[in-house]
Structures are given as structure tokens and as C-alpha cells.
Symmetry: C2
Subunit: 387 residues, 2 copies
């Protein structure tokens, strides 16, 4: 059967379905963002809303044109100099991945490894920093999407600050779905993405920079252009000129996403994501499956990772949900590839009906491949969690 | 009078107005570009169309997520090593700007300066290369947008190849509006942008890479991630995996733009841009104004740069066209700032009615500021050029 344009849903943990309000914002009006003073005001308004979202009133915040990786690399490029020691909290694929970026810029990553099925224990971070007094910077991922693990980044940032160590937090797949307080926790650089919980298209990196981080950029003096944070400060903040032409429709889409969040109420949005996590975990249990994280508290409210049952071919499973049932779910990356499938509950996906689409497709595909599931129970589990 | 949403047109030389077909392509369908095999096919199809557009069948071509500056910096980052000498053809703002990028990567720019009102003379390039036998790379801008100068990049690339020198061509604001033959001229890296003649939103960089350029990347071994061309070859070409999540709506918009070009016929599109240049120059003459380039042949078919008449405040002039007449035109940059205004004729703008909007707004604003213009003659000059 050919794939029907109207019978398909994206339940992957980003990119996600794009709500109609955001689609319309994408094409409502175009301008020359370099020359239109109204656009500069719009951009500043989006920055203000983002600062409010992550409580980063004391930091600077920029929206750069590029995928989340741009922000992650920019953080390292601007803060790491040759031979700098960096504590890399490596309890997941993306956590570990920071080590590669650190090496690219001549830094020396010190890996803090731990059980990938658990959130990192802040006391382990404390011990590592005590043992390695020459560490200048620490990296940690808030939601390590490939395993769905949620790390306690606020506690970790506070510990880092206590040691005079800067903190870089990858919040690409949590921003907008999990509370983050940059100011009170002292996160020095926080990176967010447009295409995860914010339900906008890929192409924007959000980055906050504390005064401590700015001071460090003066020591490091990174010299490139596109990844250079200081150029944003010098050209945009001081002159009101973008370093390069930003993508006005993507900024408008992000603006509409933030409007939707504030209209619903930030706390309501977070509560809805927690409910979605509960619903997903209940559905996993009702289906007789096993979540990858050990405990629900260690699992992100934005994505659920599920072990692929023994004997089931993961590629075949995902192909079946997509090609046969019109629902795209995700596999995983790195050492979890083939072993884990994931359903996103990010933004619009964090709802009863989207989760029912995701889990009934997963259940039907598993049933087709020989793993029997009571689909009615799965639907009821989700329905009940949202009451 | 408040600015009316429906009574405003963007006549700047990129970003431009976005045609409705491209707006609709932006929001027609969203997917997870990392996981949807159909999207990978779509991306490959767009690459194929772009290769056809610039005759780059023998080169590799990628569409990276970021503004044109990303591609310019990627070219230099991947081809320039410490102490490499680079011939920078500096007869315009962007031409000159390459020198900064070269320095960022430790290279030594050798500036070939010449009259900014003229296209570069290829024999000057030849003489420079004869004199500087240790030059490894040459940079040149096809359409140097701030002055509207069009350089003979194909001849220059051929000369470079004759000396065993690599060529990097910035075609950000010409691609799609001026013929470019990468294969026959031997351009090693060509960079294009989405937001100029292609009338798509900002956010995409197009880059072609010849085998000679690939060989050079092996010598240079640039080590970053986001700007690293070799990662695209290794991950996308070999594994079918994007190095990071690409922006699916922007790729779809670019695809639709290319469909429009091929439906019209590439040669017809180029002819329309040449007519637009003629119309713009006739309008400038009818208005009693002076083009910035000395001769029409040295001026790009995609943009016209006009001297601001003595005694006219350029900022006030542009504010009047936009705020009072609803038409945005551009000023210029660098040493041309305040002295030149520009009207784009890129893609949809390269048409009779768009040019009439642009030039009648310019004429009315100049008249308001005390420079008398016979507006009827301006309109007729444009009308006649399109017959």
C-alpha cells in the first residue's frame, strides 16, 4: 500500500510533528532580517521569551542558525583551549560525545562513566571534581535522548560553581518540556534546539552564556567566525546587526511555539510532559515491555526508551510501524543501536492521542513480528494516566 | 500610517520575497529527516538538481544547515593551513572579506586589489599568480552584492587551474541567476545560498567540492565538526546518515525553487535576469541617477547598485521607501555604506512588476527628499526593457 500523505505521524523524539499554528507562522510574512527594524524587535522578543522559559535573566542568550550540534560545538570552541581538562559526564551517547568535541579543540576530556540506565549521581560528580582540581569545565546532558535518561543538571551546575568550574549543559531535547533554572543553578552555557520539545523545524540553536563563560571566552579567544559567540555580543548586542542573515521564518516559528507554551502556562506544560511520561511508562508495562531507564524518575518527561524484546529485529520493527502503520518511532544510536526503540513525547506529542498513536503502532508491529500484546490494555493505560 | 501587512514588498538583494509555491512547500509535509528514507531520497534529488544548475556533475555537492557564511568559512577552514598563501581577489566588500577568514585559519592573504567599479581583469589574476608561485588557493566573489559587480569567475578558475592553484568561488548571490559551469571552468569549491536568487528562506548553504579540493582537505585535515566537509563525505555519502539533523522544510523550499527554475527553463531564467539588469539600468538612467558599476557588463544580472545623489541622506531615503511607500530596498556595507542603494532582481524580483515597485518607490522617496524624477519615464523604461 502506498504511504498516504494524511495517514502518517512523527512520534520520534525530535524532529516532531509541527503544529498547524507553527506551520502558519512559518509562512505568514517574510522580510529581510538584516534590514527590517521590526524583525530585530521580533528577534529580541523571542530572546526574552526564551530567557523567561529557562530562567536565564542574568545570562545572554542567542539564537544561532544551525542545528543543535552547532551550539554544542560553539560552547566547546569558545571555552576550551589546548590542554584544558574537561570533566565529561558520560552516562549516555550524547554525554560521551562531548569528549570528541573537547578533543577537537585540543582539550583533555576526563570521562565520568556510570550506569547508562541511571541518572548521574551528583555525589560522583563532586568526587571527580575533588580528585581533579585542574578541571576548568564540565559537560553534562540534561536529557540524553538515545537512552531517555534525565540528569540532575541543576544540582551538578551548583556543584561545579562551588569548585569554580564552568558548566555546559546540553538541553537540546529537554528545553520546553522539563523545568530548567539557569540563574539559580548557575549553568554557564545551556544549549537548546528548535526541533525537539519546541516543535519547530530543525535549524535553530539556542545558547545562553553567563558572565563567567564570557570571561572564559576572553582567555580562550576562539578565532573562527560562524561558531564564535563573541561576534554575536559585539555585532548584535552592541551594533544591532546580525553577524549573518538569520532565518526569519524559523525565528517566527519559534516565537509561535513559545506563545503556545506561555498561553498554556509553563507549569501546565511541564505537568503535561510528566503525565506523558507516566502514560508512556504505563503503556510499556501494559504491553509487557521493559523501559531502558531503571526508574521513571531517571527517565525524561520528553521521551521514553524501550528495550527491543529478545528475538525481535529492531529495524524490521520500525519499518513496520512506519510503512505499515504510518507512525514513525525512533531506534537509538551508538551502543544502544538495535537494542532500544523510542517514542517521543515532546510538545504536541505529549498528549493522550499522540501517545495512543505511537504505542498502538508499536504494539501492532510487535504483534506482527510475533510478540503478543493486548492493545486494549495499552490504550487504557494511556487514557488513565491522563486523567 | 501603520505599516500594512499586505502593502509591503522586499526588493533587497536577498533575502527576497518568497513566492507562494515556495511558502507552501515549506509547510506541506514534515518528517524526521534523520530517519525517513524518503527524505534522504528527496535530499539526493535536490543535490542532483543543484548539480545540474551549476554544471557540477564531477564535483560532490552538499546542502549544509546555516547561512552562506557557513559555506564560505567551511571552504577556508577545510582548505587553508597555517602559513598557506591565498590570493584574495579584493575588488569588493565580500571579496576583501575573504582575507579575514584566511587569517582566522592561519593563512596569509595576498590581496589583489583593483577598481571596485569594475569586474576584475583576469590578466591581473594571471600576473599575480606568476609573481606569487607559492600561492595554493585563490578566492573570488562572483557577484559582490554590496557593489553589484560581477566577476568573470570561470575564466579566473581556469587560470588558477593552469597554475595548479585551487579556486574558491562565492556564488551566494548569483547562483540561479547567472550561468555557472563548475565542470568546464574547474571551480574547486563553489558556495551558494538559499536566500538570494533561489528565493527560499535563509538557512541553507550550498557547496560543491572537486576532487582536487578533497585531496587538499587531506593535507589540511581540518578538525572541527560543524564546518567539516569530510564528515559529510564520510557520514552522508558512505553511510547515508546526515552528520546532524538537516532542516527538512528548508530543503523542501529549495526543491520547489529548483522545480520552478527548471519548469521555466534555465536559459529563460538567465535571460530574464539579463533583461531585469537592462531594465534596472534603463530605469536608473531615466531617473537621472548613476549606477555604481562603470559598465552594464560588469554589473550582476541579479542586483543593481546606484549611487546616492549628493545631498541625499541614504538612511532617510531607505526609511522613506519602506515606511512611506512599503518597499524595502537595501543600502550597502563597508566603505560603500551610505553611498550606495541597491535593488535586487533575484528570482521573482527579476520581473517587470517587481522592478516597477522598486524603482517607483525609490523615485518617489528621492522626490520627497528634493531630487526631482519623472516617474512616468522610469516606469516606461522598465516596461520597454521587458519587451
Amino acid at each position: 500500500m502506498p504511504r498516504l500523505f494524511t495517514d502518517r505521524f512523527i512520534l520520534t523524539p525530535g524532529p516532531t510533528e509541527i503544529p498547524n499554528r507553527i506551520r502558519l507562522a512559518l509562512i505568514r510574512e517574510f522580510t529581510n532580517p538584516d534590514l527590517d527594524p521590526d524583525f530585530l524587535e521580533l528577534y529580541k522578543g523571542v530572546v526574552k521569551k526564551l530567557k523567561r522559559l529557562v530562567n536565564a535573566e542574568k545570562s545572554d542568550l542567542y539564537i544561532m542558525i544551525g542545528e543543535g550540534m552547532l551550539g554544542l560545538e560553539a560552547a566547546i570552541a569558545n571555552l576550551v583551549k589546548k590542554n584544558d581538562k574537561v570533566l565529561v559526564i558520560a552516562n549516555g551517547v550524547f554525554g560521551e560525545g562531548f569528549a570528541d568535541l573537547v578533543r577537537m579543540y585540543g582539550g583533555e576530556p576526563v570521562l565520568l562513566e556510570s550506569n547508562w540506565r541511571r541518572a548521574i549521581d551528583p555525589s560522583d560528580v563532586e568526587r571527580s571534581l575533588e580528585k581533579n582540581r585542574d578541571i576548568k569545565l564540565l559537560t553534562v546532558v540534561h536529557c540524553d535522548t538515545p537512552s531517555a535518561i534525565l540528569n540532575p543538571v541543576e544540582e551538578i551546575a551548583k556543584i561545579a560553581r562551588g569548585f569554580g568550574v564552568l558548566s555546559v549543559v546540553d538541553a537540546v531535547s529537554s528545553i520546553g518540556g522539563v523545568p530548567i533554572n539557569v540563574d539559580t543553578s548557575g549553568i554557564d552555557i545551556l544549549i537548546g534546539g528548535s526541533q525537539k520539545v519546541l516543535n519547530a523545524p530543525p535549524g535553530l540553536t539556542i545558547i545562553t552564556i553567563s558572565q563567567y563563560a564570557w570571561d572564559e571566552t576572553e582567555r580562550v579567544k576562539y578565532n573562527g567566525f560562524y561558531l564564535n559567540l563573541r561576534i554575536w555580543k559585539e555585532e548584535l548586542d552592541k551594533e544591532g546587526i546580525f553577524p549573518y542573515t538569520v532565518s526569519d521564518p524559523l525565528i517566527r516559528a519559534l516565537d509561535e511555539s513559545l506563545n503556545m507554551i506561555f498561553e498554556e502556562g509553563i507549569e501546565n506544560v511541564y505537568e503535561r510532559h510528566r503525565k506523558a511520561r507516566q502514560a508512556a511508562w504505563s503503556a510499556v508495562e501494559a504491553a509487557g515491555l521493559t523501559p531502558y531507564p531503571m526508574k521513571i524518575e531517571d527517565s525524561s518527561p520528553t521521551v521514553t526508551a524501550i528495550e527491543v524484546p529478545t528475538g525481535i529485529d529492531e529495524a524490521k520493527l520500525r519499518e513496520t510501524t512506519w510503512k505499515k502503520y504510518g507512525v514513525m518511532i525512533a531506534g537509538s544510536w551508538g551502543k544502544l543501536k538495535g537494542k532500544v526503540v523510542r517514542i517521543g513525547h515532546m510538545g504536541v506529542q505529549a498528549s493522550r492521542n499522540y501517545l495512543i498513536l505511537g504505542f498502538t503502532a508499536l504494539a501492532r508491529a510487535l504483534r506482527d513480528l510475533g510478540f503478543p500484546i493486548n492493545i486494549g490494555k495499552v490504550v487504557e493505560a494511556i487514557e488513565e494516566s491522563f486523567h
